[in-house]
Protein backbone atom coordinates (compact mmCIF):
# COMPACT_ATOMS: atom_id res chain seq x y z
CA UNK A 1 0.00 0.00 0.00
CA UNK A 2 1.76 3.10 -1.24
CA UNK A 3 5.02 1.52 -0.15
CA UNK A 4 3.88 1.03 3.46
CA UNK A 5 4.27 -2.47 4.80
CA UNK A 6 3.24 -3.86 8.15
CA UNK A 7 6.56 -4.86 9.67
CA UNK A 8 4.66 -6.97 12.19
CA UNK A 9 1.99 -6.12 14.74
CA UNK A 10 3.27 -4.56 17.92
CA UNK A 11 1.85 -2.38 20.69
CA UNK A 12 2.62 1.31 20.98
CA UNK A 13 3.09 0.92 24.75
CA UNK A 14 6.05 -1.38 24.03
CA UNK A 15 7.44 1.38 21.83
CA UNK A 16 7.20 3.63 24.89
CA UNK A 17 8.99 1.06 27.08
CA UNK A 18 11.80 0.67 24.56
CA UNK A 19 12.10 4.42 24.01
CA UNK A 20 12.18 5.10 27.74
CA UNK A 21 15.18 2.81 28.24
CA UNK A 22 17.00 4.35 25.30
CA UNK A 23 16.28 7.92 26.41
CA UNK A 24 17.36 7.13 29.97
CA UNK A 25 20.59 5.57 28.72
CA UNK A 26 21.37 8.79 26.87
CA UNK A 27 20.27 11.16 29.66
CA UNK A 28 20.96 10.28 33.28
CA UNK A 29 18.53 12.94 34.58
CA UNK A 30 15.54 10.91 33.36
CA UNK A 31 13.54 9.22 36.12
CA UNK A 32 10.35 7.18 35.83
CA UNK A 33 7.32 7.02 38.13
CA UNK A 34 4.56 4.45 37.95
CA UNK A 35 1.24 4.03 39.75
CA UNK A 36 1.12 0.24 40.10
CA UNK A 37 1.03 -0.55 36.37
CA UNK A 38 4.68 -1.27 35.61
CA UNK A 39 3.94 -4.31 33.44
CA UNK A 40 1.06 -2.70 31.57
CA UNK A 41 3.14 0.38 30.79
CA UNK A 42 6.11 -1.79 29.71
CA UNK A 43 8.33 -0.07 32.27
CA UNK A 44 9.91 -3.30 33.57
CA UNK A 45 13.06 -2.95 31.50
CA UNK A 46 13.60 0.57 32.83
CA UNK A 47 13.02 -0.63 36.38
CA UNK A 48 15.58 -3.42 35.97
CA UNK A 49 18.22 -1.29 34.27
CA UNK A 50 17.80 1.82 36.43
CA UNK A 51 16.41 0.68 39.81
CA UNK A 52 17.53 3.88 41.56
CA UNK A 53 15.73 6.03 39.03
CA UNK A 54 12.44 4.13 39.16
CA UNK A 55 9.74 5.18 41.65
CA UNK A 56 6.82 2.92 42.47
CA UNK A 57 4.17 5.33 43.72
CA UNK A 58 1.32 2.89 44.33
CA UNK A 59 -2.29 3.49 43.35
CA UNK A 60 -2.09 7.21 44.02
CA UNK A 61 -2.00 9.14 40.77
CA UNK A 62 -2.50 12.60 42.27
CA UNK A 63 0.55 12.06 44.46
CA UNK A 64 2.49 10.77 41.45
CA UNK A 65 1.82 13.95 39.47
CA UNK A 66 2.82 16.14 42.42
CA UNK A 67 6.01 14.17 43.11
CA UNK A 68 6.94 14.37 39.43
CA UNK A 69 6.46 18.15 39.47
CA UNK A 70 8.64 18.44 42.59
CA UNK A 71 11.36 16.22 41.13
CA UNK A 72 11.97 18.70 38.31
CA UNK A 73 13.28 21.11 40.96
CA UNK A 74 16.88 19.89 40.91
CA UNK A 75 16.83 19.14 37.19
CA UNK A 76 15.31 15.65 36.95
CA UNK A 77 13.15 14.78 33.92
CA UNK A 78 10.29 12.66 35.27
CA UNK A 79 8.24 10.35 33.04
CA UNK A 80 4.98 9.33 34.74
CA UNK A 81 3.24 6.17 33.63
CA UNK A 82 -0.31 4.97 34.09
CA UNK A 83 -3.44 4.44 31.98
CA UNK A 84 -4.63 7.48 30.01
CA UNK A 85 -7.77 7.77 32.12
CA UNK A 86 -5.78 8.00 35.36
CA UNK A 87 -3.13 10.17 33.67
CA UNK A 88 -5.60 12.93 32.82
CA UNK A 89 -9.16 13.04 34.10
CA UNK A 90 -8.30 11.71 37.53
CA UNK A 91 -5.50 14.24 38.03
CA UNK A 92 -6.55 17.19 35.91
CA UNK A 93 -6.21 19.77 38.67
CA UNK A 94 -2.83 18.40 39.76
CA UNK A 95 -1.54 18.63 36.17
CA UNK A 96 -3.08 22.05 35.70
CA UNK A 97 -1.56 23.68 38.79
CA UNK A 98 1.61 21.74 39.61
CA UNK A 99 2.77 20.96 36.03
CA UNK A 100 1.17 23.15 33.35
CA UNK A 101 0.76 26.46 35.20
CA UNK A 102 4.07 25.88 37.00
CA UNK A 103 5.69 24.97 33.65
CA UNK A 104 7.43 21.85 34.94
CA UNK A 105 9.43 19.54 32.69
CA UNK A 106 7.27 16.46 33.27
CA UNK A 107 6.40 13.89 30.60
CA UNK A 108 2.94 12.47 31.28
CA UNK A 109 2.95 9.12 29.52
CA UNK A 110 -0.44 7.51 29.10
CA UNK A 111 -1.17 4.02 27.89
CA UNK A 112 -4.46 2.22 27.14
CA UNK A 113 -5.91 5.37 25.59
CA UNK A 114 -9.13 5.17 23.67
CA UNK A 115 -11.60 2.44 22.94
CA UNK A 116 -8.99 -0.16 21.90
CA UNK A 117 -8.32 -0.77 25.57
CA UNK A 118 -11.11 -3.23 24.92
CA UNK A 119 -12.60 -5.62 27.42
CA UNK A 120 -12.16 -3.48 30.56
CA UNK A 121 -14.91 -1.22 29.26
CA UNK A 122 -15.89 2.41 29.47
CA UNK A 123 -14.55 3.09 32.99
CA UNK A 124 -11.06 2.77 31.55
CA UNK A 125 -11.57 3.81 27.90
CA UNK A 126 -10.93 7.50 28.01
CA UNK A 127 -11.98 9.34 24.85
CA UNK A 128 -11.69 12.85 26.26
CA UNK A 129 -8.01 13.04 27.20
CA UNK A 130 -6.71 14.85 24.11
CA UNK A 131 -9.30 17.55 24.66
CA UNK A 132 -8.45 18.02 28.32
CA UNK A 133 -4.72 18.11 27.69
CA UNK A 134 -4.75 20.37 24.65
CA UNK A 135 -6.77 22.98 26.54
CA UNK A 136 -3.93 23.45 29.05
CA UNK A 137 -1.74 26.41 28.04
CA UNK A 138 1.77 25.27 27.13
CA UNK A 139 1.00 21.55 27.09
CA UNK A 140 2.41 19.59 24.15
CA UNK A 141 0.08 16.75 23.10
CA UNK A 142 1.49 13.80 21.15
CA UNK A 143 -0.34 10.69 19.90
CA UNK A 144 2.00 8.53 17.79
CA UNK A 145 0.70 5.93 15.35
CA UNK A 146 2.78 2.78 15.86
CA UNK A 147 5.58 1.11 17.82
CA UNK A 148 8.45 2.76 15.97
CA UNK A 149 6.94 6.22 16.14
CA UNK A 150 6.07 5.91 19.83
CA UNK A 151 9.63 4.86 20.57
CA UNK A 152 11.02 7.80 18.61
CA UNK A 153 8.61 10.22 20.31
CA UNK A 154 9.50 8.92 23.77
CA UNK A 155 13.16 9.66 23.11
CA UNK A 156 12.55 13.03 21.47
CA UNK A 157 10.41 14.48 24.27
CA UNK A 158 13.33 14.13 26.68
CA UNK A 159 15.13 16.79 24.62
CA UNK A 160 12.22 19.22 24.79
CA UNK A 161 12.00 21.32 27.97
CA UNK A 162 8.40 21.65 29.15
CA UNK A 163 5.31 19.61 29.92
CA UNK A 164 4.29 16.91 27.44
CA UNK A 165 1.32 14.56 27.24
CA UNK A 166 2.31 11.40 25.36
CA UNK A 167 -0.64 9.15 24.49
CA UNK A 168 -0.42 5.56 23.33
CA UNK A 169 -2.39 2.32 23.42
CA UNK A 170 -2.77 -1.26 24.47
CA UNK A 171 -3.37 -3.52 21.42
CA UNK A 172 -0.84 -4.84 18.96
CA UNK A 173 -1.32 -2.88 15.75
CA UNK A 174 0.60 -2.67 12.46
CA UNK A 175 4.10 -1.26 12.86
CA UNK A 176 4.94 0.46 9.60
CA UNK A 177 6.92 3.66 10.10
CA UNK A 178 10.70 3.81 9.75
CA UNK A 179 12.65 2.33 12.63
CA UNK A 180 15.21 5.15 12.35
CA UNK A 181 12.77 7.99 11.79
CA UNK A 182 13.55 11.47 12.99
CA UNK A 183 10.66 12.51 15.20
CA UNK A 184 10.01 16.23 15.17
CA UNK A 185 7.54 17.61 17.71
CA UNK A 186 4.86 19.67 15.98
CA UNK A 187 5.72 18.49 12.49
CA UNK A 188 3.10 16.46 10.63
CA UNK A 189 4.12 13.73 8.23
CA UNK A 190 2.61 13.45 4.77
CA UNK A 191 2.39 9.71 4.29
CA UNK A 192 0.55 9.67 0.96
CA UNK A 193 0.33 12.35 -1.69
CA UNK A 194 -3.09 12.88 -3.28
CA UNK A 195 -5.32 15.48 -4.90
CA UNK A 196 -8.98 14.81 -4.06
CA UNK A 197 -9.28 14.50 -0.28
CA UNK A 198 -7.04 15.22 2.72
CA UNK A 199 -7.21 12.80 5.61
CA UNK A 200 -5.73 14.26 8.79
CA UNK A 201 -5.28 11.39 11.22
CA UNK A 202 -3.57 10.47 14.47
CA UNK A 203 -2.70 7.40 16.55
CA UNK A 204 -4.16 4.00 15.73
CA UNK A 205 -6.33 5.51 12.98
CA UNK A 206 -3.33 6.34 10.78
CA UNK A 207 -2.96 2.77 9.52
CA UNK A 208 -6.70 2.67 8.80
CA UNK A 209 -6.40 5.92 6.86
CA UNK A 210 -3.72 4.31 4.66
CA UNK A 211 -6.04 1.34 4.10
CA UNK A 212 -8.89 3.72 3.24
CA UNK A 213 -6.68 5.60 0.77
CA UNK A 214 -5.73 2.32 -0.85
CA UNK A 215 -9.39 1.28 -1.19
CA UNK A 216 -10.37 4.67 -2.65
CA UNK A 217 -7.45 4.62 -5.07
CA UNK A 218 -8.99 1.57 -6.66
CA UNK A 219 -12.18 3.58 -7.09
CA UNK A 220 -10.27 6.39 -8.77
CA UNK A 221 -10.09 8.75 -5.79
CA UNK A 222 -6.72 10.27 -4.95
CA UNK A 223 -6.32 10.69 -1.17
CA UNK A 224 -3.64 12.62 0.70
CA UNK A 225 -2.89 11.19 4.15
CA UNK A 226 -1.25 13.33 6.82
CA UNK A 227 -0.15 11.79 10.09
CA UNK A 228 -0.55 14.40 12.82
CA UNK A 229 1.35 12.80 15.68
CA UNK A 230 1.51 16.15 17.49
CA UNK A 231 -1.95 17.54 18.09
CA UNK A 232 -0.54 20.52 19.93
CA UNK A 233 1.25 22.48 18.64
CA UNK A 234 -0.59 21.67 15.43
CA UNK A 235 1.31 21.68 12.14
CA UNK A 236 -0.94 24.23 10.48
CA UNK A 237 1.19 24.62 7.39
CA UNK A 238 1.07 21.01 6.24
CA UNK A 239 -2.72 20.87 6.72
CA UNK A 240 -3.51 24.20 5.04
CA UNK A 241 -1.22 23.41 2.12
CA UNK A 242 -2.96 20.11 1.59
CA UNK A 243 -6.55 21.34 1.80
CA UNK A 244 -5.73 24.18 -0.54
CA UNK A 245 -4.98 21.47 -3.07
CA UNK A 246 -7.71 18.93 -2.26
CA UNK A 247 -10.52 21.26 -1.17
CA UNK A 248 -11.91 18.95 1.52
CA UNK A 249 -10.79 17.17 4.68
CA UNK A 250 -11.63 14.20 6.87
CA UNK A 251 -10.21 13.91 10.38
CA UNK A 252 -9.70 10.49 11.96
CA UNK A 253 -8.91 9.74 15.58
CA UNK A 254 -9.65 7.33 18.40
CA UNK A 255 -11.22 10.05 20.54
CA UNK A 256 -14.46 11.90 21.07
CA UNK A 257 -15.08 14.11 18.05
CA UNK A 258 -15.69 16.83 20.64
CA UNK A 259 -12.32 18.11 21.82
CA UNK A 260 -10.06 16.04 19.61
CA UNK A 261 -7.81 16.53 16.61
CA UNK A 262 -10.83 17.08 14.36
CA UNK A 263 -11.88 20.12 16.36
CA UNK A 264 -8.38 21.56 16.12
CA UNK A 265 -8.47 21.10 12.34
CA UNK A 266 -11.98 22.59 12.12
CA UNK A 267 -10.80 25.62 14.06
CA UNK A 268 -7.87 25.96 11.68
CA UNK A 269 -9.96 25.85 8.52
CA UNK A 270 -12.56 28.25 9.87
CA UNK A 271 -9.80 30.77 10.53
CA UNK A 272 -8.06 30.22 7.18
CA UNK A 273 -9.75 28.41 4.32
CA UNK A 274 -13.23 27.05 4.73
CA UNK A 275 -13.66 23.64 3.07
CA UNK A 276 -16.11 20.76 3.63
CA UNK A 277 -15.02 18.60 6.55
CA UNK A 278 -16.13 15.28 8.03
CA UNK A 279 -15.12 13.74 11.34
CA UNK A 280 -14.16 10.14 12.10
CA UNK A 281 -14.19 9.65 15.86
CA UNK A 282 -16.47 8.59 18.68
CA UNK A 283 -19.59 10.68 18.54
CA UNK A 284 -19.98 11.94 22.12
CA UNK A 285 -20.42 8.50 23.64
CA UNK A 286 -18.85 6.30 26.30
CA UNK A 287 -17.41 3.00 25.09
CA UNK A 288 -18.12 -0.53 26.30
CA UNK A 289 -16.46 -3.92 26.74
CA UNK A 290 -15.48 -5.90 23.68
CA UNK A 291 -12.65 -6.91 21.37
CA UNK A 292 -10.78 -3.83 20.13
CA UNK A 293 -11.47 -4.56 16.45
CA UNK A 294 -15.20 -5.10 17.12
CA UNK A 295 -15.36 -1.88 19.13
CA UNK A 296 -13.57 0.07 16.41
CA UNK A 297 -16.25 -1.06 13.95
CA UNK A 298 -19.18 -0.42 16.27
CA UNK A 299 -18.01 3.06 17.24
CA UNK A 300 -17.22 4.17 13.71
CA UNK A 301 -13.42 4.01 13.87
CA UNK A 302 -12.73 1.43 11.14
CA UNK A 303 -11.26 1.69 7.66
CA UNK A 304 -14.85 1.45 6.34
CA UNK A 305 -15.87 4.47 8.46
CA UNK A 306 -13.04 6.53 6.98
CA UNK A 307 -14.01 5.47 3.45
CA UNK A 308 -17.65 6.42 3.95
CA UNK A 309 -16.76 9.82 5.43
CA UNK A 310 -14.43 10.39 2.48
CA UNK A 311 -17.25 9.60 0.06
CA UNK A 312 -19.54 11.95 1.97
CA UNK A 313 -17.07 14.83 2.00
CA UNK A 314 -16.40 14.40 -1.75
CA UNK A 315 -20.11 14.92 -2.45
CA UNK A 316 -20.03 18.17 -0.46
CA UNK A 317 -17.19 19.67 -2.49
Amino acid sequence: MFGYKNLGNNDTRSGFGAGLVEAATQNTEIVALCADLTGSLKMNDFKEKFPNRFFQIGIAEANMIGIAAGMTIGNKIPYTGTFANFSTGRVYDQIRQSIAYSNKNVKICASHAGITLGEDGATHQILEDIGMMKMLPGMVVINPCDFNQTKAATIEISKYIGPVYLRFGRPKVPNFTDENQKFKIGQGVRLIEGNDITIVCTGHLVWHAIEAADFLKNKGVSVEVINIHTIKPLDQEIILKSIKKTGCVVSAEEHNTIGGLGESVASLIVKNKLVPMEFVGVNDKFGESGKPTDLMKKYGLSTDSIVSKCEKVLKRK
Binding site: G66, G70, R96, Q97, S98, S102
Partner: protein, 278 residues
Protein backbone atom coordinates in the same frame (compact mmCIF):
# COMPACT_ATOMS: atom_id res chain seq x y z
CA UNK B 1 13.50 44.87 70.28
CA UNK B 2 15.32 42.03 68.46
CA UNK B 3 15.66 41.89 64.69
CA UNK B 4 13.21 38.99 64.60
CA UNK B 5 10.63 40.95 66.59
CA UNK B 6 11.09 43.91 64.29
CA UNK B 7 10.60 41.68 61.27
CA UNK B 8 7.43 40.23 62.70
CA UNK B 9 5.86 43.63 63.31
CA UNK B 10 6.86 44.74 59.84
CA UNK B 11 5.59 41.59 58.10
CA UNK B 12 2.25 42.00 59.89
CA UNK B 13 2.07 45.58 58.62
CA UNK B 14 2.89 44.38 55.11
CA UNK B 15 0.13 41.78 55.30
CA UNK B 16 -2.67 44.09 56.38
CA UNK B 17 -1.56 46.87 54.05
CA UNK B 18 -1.36 44.54 51.03
CA UNK B 19 -4.77 43.05 51.66
CA UNK B 20 -6.28 46.46 52.40
CA UNK B 21 -4.82 48.05 49.26
CA UNK B 22 -6.71 45.74 46.95
CA UNK B 23 -9.57 44.98 49.29
CA UNK B 24 -8.88 41.27 48.78
CA UNK B 25 -6.66 38.50 50.08
CA UNK B 26 -6.28 36.34 53.15
CA UNK B 27 -5.04 38.11 56.29
CA UNK B 28 -6.10 35.60 58.99
CA UNK B 29 -3.90 32.63 58.11
CA UNK B 30 -1.11 34.94 57.00
CA UNK B 31 -0.92 36.62 60.40
CA UNK B 32 -1.10 33.25 62.14
CA UNK B 33 1.98 31.98 60.27
CA UNK B 34 4.08 35.14 60.49
CA UNK B 35 6.32 34.01 63.35
CA UNK B 36 6.86 30.62 61.69
CA UNK B 37 7.90 31.98 58.29
CA UNK B 38 10.10 34.73 59.73
CA UNK B 39 11.97 32.27 61.97
CA UNK B 40 12.23 29.69 59.18
CA UNK B 41 13.63 32.07 56.58
CA UNK B 42 15.82 34.21 58.84
CA UNK B 43 17.09 31.70 61.39
CA UNK B 44 16.70 28.14 60.16
CA UNK B 45 16.91 27.63 56.43
CA UNK B 46 20.20 27.34 54.62
CA UNK B 47 19.67 29.68 51.69
CA UNK B 48 21.94 30.85 48.88
CA UNK B 49 22.07 34.42 47.63
CA UNK B 50 19.86 35.02 44.62
CA UNK B 51 17.38 32.57 43.21
CA UNK B 52 17.47 29.73 40.74
CA UNK B 53 14.67 27.27 40.14
CA UNK B 54 16.76 24.15 40.77
CA UNK B 55 17.82 25.26 44.24
CA UNK B 56 20.94 23.11 44.33
CA UNK B 57 22.86 23.02 47.63
CA UNK B 58 20.28 24.89 49.68
CA UNK B 59 17.19 24.17 51.71
CA UNK B 60 13.85 24.61 49.96
CA UNK B 61 10.45 25.78 51.15
CA UNK B 62 7.07 25.04 49.60
CA UNK B 63 3.84 26.77 50.61
CA UNK B 64 0.94 24.39 50.04
CA UNK B 65 -1.81 26.62 51.43
CA UNK B 66 -1.16 29.25 48.79
CA UNK B 67 -3.89 31.61 49.94
CA UNK B 68 -1.62 32.89 52.71
CA UNK B 69 0.44 34.51 49.95
CA UNK B 70 0.63 37.91 51.77
CA UNK B 71 2.90 36.53 54.49
CA UNK B 72 4.91 34.52 51.96
CA UNK B 73 5.45 37.55 49.69
CA UNK B 74 6.38 39.79 52.60
CA UNK B 75 8.91 37.32 53.99
CA UNK B 76 10.38 36.69 50.52
CA UNK B 77 10.75 40.41 49.86
CA UNK B 78 12.24 41.09 53.27
CA UNK B 79 14.64 38.15 52.67
CA UNK B 80 15.90 39.88 49.54
CA UNK B 81 14.31 37.77 46.79
CA UNK B 82 12.68 40.79 45.14
CA UNK B 83 12.31 44.52 45.84
CA UNK B 84 10.20 45.36 48.89
CA UNK B 85 8.37 48.06 46.89
CA UNK B 86 6.91 45.34 44.69
CA UNK B 87 4.64 44.35 47.59
CA UNK B 88 2.53 47.33 46.56
CA UNK B 89 1.51 45.44 43.38
CA UNK B 90 -0.15 42.59 45.29
CA UNK B 91 -3.12 41.25 43.29
CA UNK B 92 -2.80 44.02 40.69
CA UNK B 93 -3.01 43.43 36.98
CA UNK B 94 0.42 42.74 35.39
CA UNK B 95 1.89 41.97 38.82
CA UNK B 96 4.22 39.12 39.68
CA UNK B 97 2.42 38.96 43.04
CA UNK B 98 -0.63 37.01 41.95
CA UNK B 99 -3.47 36.28 44.34
CA UNK B 100 -1.97 32.86 44.88
CA UNK B 101 1.76 32.17 44.46
CA UNK B 102 2.96 31.09 41.02
CA UNK B 103 6.11 30.56 39.02
CA UNK B 104 4.24 31.80 35.95
CA UNK B 105 5.22 35.45 36.27
CA UNK B 106 8.76 34.59 37.37
CA UNK B 107 8.66 35.88 40.93
CA UNK B 108 11.95 34.87 42.61
CA UNK B 109 11.48 32.62 45.62
CA UNK B 110 8.52 30.68 44.22
CA UNK B 111 9.14 27.21 42.84
CA UNK B 112 5.60 25.90 42.36
CA UNK B 113 2.11 27.32 41.99
CA UNK B 114 -0.23 26.67 44.90
CA UNK B 115 -3.75 27.66 45.72
CA UNK B 116 -5.74 24.62 44.75
CA UNK B 117 -5.22 22.85 48.07
CA UNK B 118 -3.58 19.56 48.91
CA UNK B 119 -0.82 19.42 46.31
CA UNK B 120 2.19 20.85 48.16
CA UNK B 121 3.20 17.79 50.13
CA UNK B 122 3.54 15.66 47.00
CA UNK B 123 5.62 18.39 45.37
CA UNK B 124 7.81 18.66 48.47
CA UNK B 125 8.36 14.91 48.48
CA UNK B 126 9.42 15.07 44.83
CA UNK B 127 11.90 17.85 45.56
CA UNK B 128 13.21 15.92 48.58
CA UNK B 129 13.71 12.78 46.49
CA UNK B 130 15.63 14.78 43.89
CA UNK B 131 17.87 16.20 46.64
CA UNK B 132 18.66 12.63 47.67
CA UNK B 133 19.34 11.59 44.05
CA UNK B 134 21.64 14.56 43.69
CA UNK B 135 23.55 13.51 46.81
CA UNK B 136 22.54 16.60 48.79
CA UNK B 137 22.04 16.73 52.53
CA UNK B 138 19.73 19.75 52.46
CA UNK B 139 16.21 19.83 53.83
CA UNK B 140 12.86 20.50 52.19
CA UNK B 141 10.34 22.41 54.33
CA UNK B 142 6.63 22.66 53.63
CA UNK B 143 3.67 24.45 55.20
CA UNK B 144 0.04 23.33 55.05
CA UNK B 145 -3.23 24.43 56.55
CA UNK B 146 -4.99 22.04 58.90
CA UNK B 147 -8.23 22.25 56.95
CA UNK B 148 -6.19 21.42 53.87
CA UNK B 149 -5.66 17.94 55.28
CA UNK B 150 -9.25 17.24 54.27
CA UNK B 151 -7.91 16.90 50.70
CA UNK B 152 -7.24 13.22 49.99
CA UNK B 153 -4.01 13.73 48.06
CA UNK B 154 -2.29 14.60 51.36
CA UNK B 155 -2.91 11.12 52.69
CA UNK B 156 -1.46 9.54 49.54
CA UNK B 157 1.62 11.68 50.12
CA UNK B 158 1.78 11.02 53.89
CA UNK B 159 1.64 7.27 53.18
CA UNK B 160 4.30 7.50 50.47
CA UNK B 161 6.77 9.59 52.46
CA UNK B 162 6.79 7.17 55.38
CA UNK B 163 6.91 4.03 53.22
CA UNK B 164 9.83 5.42 51.24
CA UNK B 165 11.76 6.95 54.15
CA UNK B 166 11.67 10.51 52.85
CA UNK B 167 13.58 11.77 55.88
CA UNK B 168 14.92 15.06 54.49
CA UNK B 169 11.48 16.61 54.75
CA UNK B 170 9.97 18.76 57.52
CA UNK B 171 6.27 19.34 57.01
CA UNK B 172 4.48 21.85 59.21
CA UNK B 173 0.73 21.92 59.76
CA UNK B 174 -0.75 25.29 60.69
CA UNK B 175 -3.21 24.03 63.27
CA UNK B 176 -5.44 27.04 63.89
CA UNK B 177 -8.57 24.88 63.92
CA UNK B 178 -10.35 27.23 61.54
CA UNK B 179 -11.50 27.03 57.95
CA UNK B 180 -13.73 29.15 55.74
CA UNK B 181 -17.04 27.77 56.94
CA UNK B 182 -16.09 27.74 60.62
CA UNK B 183 -14.32 25.55 63.16
CA UNK B 184 -12.64 22.43 61.80
CA UNK B 185 -14.55 20.20 64.15
CA UNK B 186 -17.84 21.52 62.82
CA UNK B 187 -16.96 21.44 59.11
CA UNK B 188 -15.12 18.11 58.99
CA UNK B 189 -13.49 16.94 62.17
CA UNK B 190 -9.93 15.78 61.58
CA UNK B 191 -9.74 14.05 64.94
CA UNK B 192 -6.25 13.74 66.35
CA UNK B 193 -3.83 14.98 63.71
CA UNK B 194 -0.74 13.81 65.55
CA UNK B 195 -1.96 10.26 66.02
CA UNK B 196 -2.90 10.08 62.37
CA UNK B 197 0.61 11.08 61.27
CA UNK B 198 2.13 8.73 63.87
CA UNK B 199 0.09 5.79 62.66
CA UNK B 200 1.29 6.50 59.11
CA UNK B 201 4.88 6.26 60.37
CA UNK B 202 5.95 9.88 60.78
CA UNK B 203 7.97 11.45 63.57
CA UNK B 204 5.83 14.14 65.18
CA UNK B 205 6.57 17.32 67.08
CA UNK B 206 3.90 19.31 68.87
CA UNK B 207 4.43 23.03 68.79
CA UNK B 208 2.06 24.36 71.44
CA UNK B 209 2.45 28.04 70.60
CA UNK B 210 3.31 28.68 66.98
CA UNK B 211 3.10 32.42 67.61
CA UNK B 212 6.00 32.36 70.07
CA UNK B 213 9.34 33.00 68.38
CA UNK B 214 11.39 30.90 70.80
CA UNK B 215 9.02 27.96 70.69
CA UNK B 216 8.95 28.03 66.88
CA UNK B 217 12.71 28.09 66.71
CA UNK B 218 13.08 25.29 69.24
CA UNK B 219 10.59 23.11 67.34
CA UNK B 220 12.35 23.67 64.02
CA UNK B 221 15.76 22.88 65.53
CA UNK B 222 14.34 19.74 67.07
CA UNK B 223 12.81 18.79 63.69
CA UNK B 224 16.16 19.27 61.95
CA UNK B 225 17.80 16.99 64.49
CA UNK B 226 15.26 14.31 63.69
CA UNK B 227 15.98 14.42 59.94
CA UNK B 228 17.91 11.64 58.21
CA UNK B 229 16.70 9.03 60.65
CA UNK B 230 14.60 7.07 58.17
CA UNK B 231 11.32 8.85 58.84
CA UNK B 232 9.65 12.05 57.64
CA UNK B 233 9.04 14.73 60.28
CA UNK B 234 5.88 16.74 60.91
CA UNK B 235 5.44 19.74 63.21
CA UNK B 236 1.88 20.23 64.36
CA UNK B 237 1.90 23.93 65.07
CA UNK B 238 -0.91 25.48 67.07
CA UNK B 239 -1.47 29.05 65.98
CA UNK B 240 -4.05 31.76 66.46
CA UNK B 241 -5.58 32.90 63.21
CA UNK B 242 -5.18 36.67 62.80
CA UNK B 243 -2.45 36.82 65.48
CA UNK B 244 -1.17 40.31 66.21
CA UNK B 245 -4.32 42.19 65.21
CA UNK B 246 -6.70 41.90 68.13
CA UNK B 247 -10.01 42.06 66.31
CA UNK B 248 -8.88 39.41 63.80
CA UNK B 249 -7.68 36.92 66.40
CA UNK B 250 -9.27 33.56 66.93
CA UNK B 251 -12.06 33.82 64.40
CA UNK B 252 -12.50 32.40 60.89
CA UNK B 253 -14.23 35.66 59.91
CA UNK B 254 -10.92 37.14 58.69
CA UNK B 255 -9.90 34.14 56.59
CA UNK B 256 -10.41 35.97 53.33
CA UNK B 257 -11.70 39.44 54.20
CA UNK B 258 -9.78 42.70 53.94
CA UNK B 259 -9.85 45.40 56.63
CA UNK B 260 -11.44 48.77 55.79
CA UNK B 261 -9.59 52.07 56.30
CA UNK B 262 -10.49 52.34 59.96
CA UNK B 263 -9.73 48.72 60.67
CA UNK B 264 -6.38 49.09 58.91
CA UNK B 265 -5.50 52.01 61.14
CA UNK B 266 -6.25 49.97 64.25
CA UNK B 267 -4.15 47.08 62.95
CA UNK B 268 -1.22 49.36 62.15
CA UNK B 269 -1.43 51.03 65.55
CA UNK B 270 -1.00 47.62 67.12
CA UNK B 271 2.07 46.89 64.98
CA UNK B 272 4.65 49.71 64.88
CA UNK B 273 6.68 50.40 61.77
CA UNK B 274 10.07 48.88 62.51
CA UNK B 275 11.83 48.39 59.17
CA UNK B 276 10.20 50.89 56.83
CA UNK B 277 6.91 50.24 55.10
CA UNK B 278 7.04 49.35 51.41
Amino acid sequence: MTTTQKLIFQVRRDIVRMVHSNNSGHPGGSLGCTEFLVVLFFQIMKRKDGFDMNGFDEDLFFLSNGHISPVFYSVLARSGYFPIEELSTFRDINSRLQGHPTTHEGLPGIRIASGSLGQGLSVSIGAALTKKMNGEKNIVYSLHGDGELQEGQNWEAIMYAAANKVDNLICTIDNNNKQIDGDLKDVLDLGNIESKFKSFGWLTINLENGNDIDEVKAALIKAKEKCFSGKPVVIIMKTVMGNGVDYMMGTHKWHGVAPNDKELEIALNQNPETLNDY
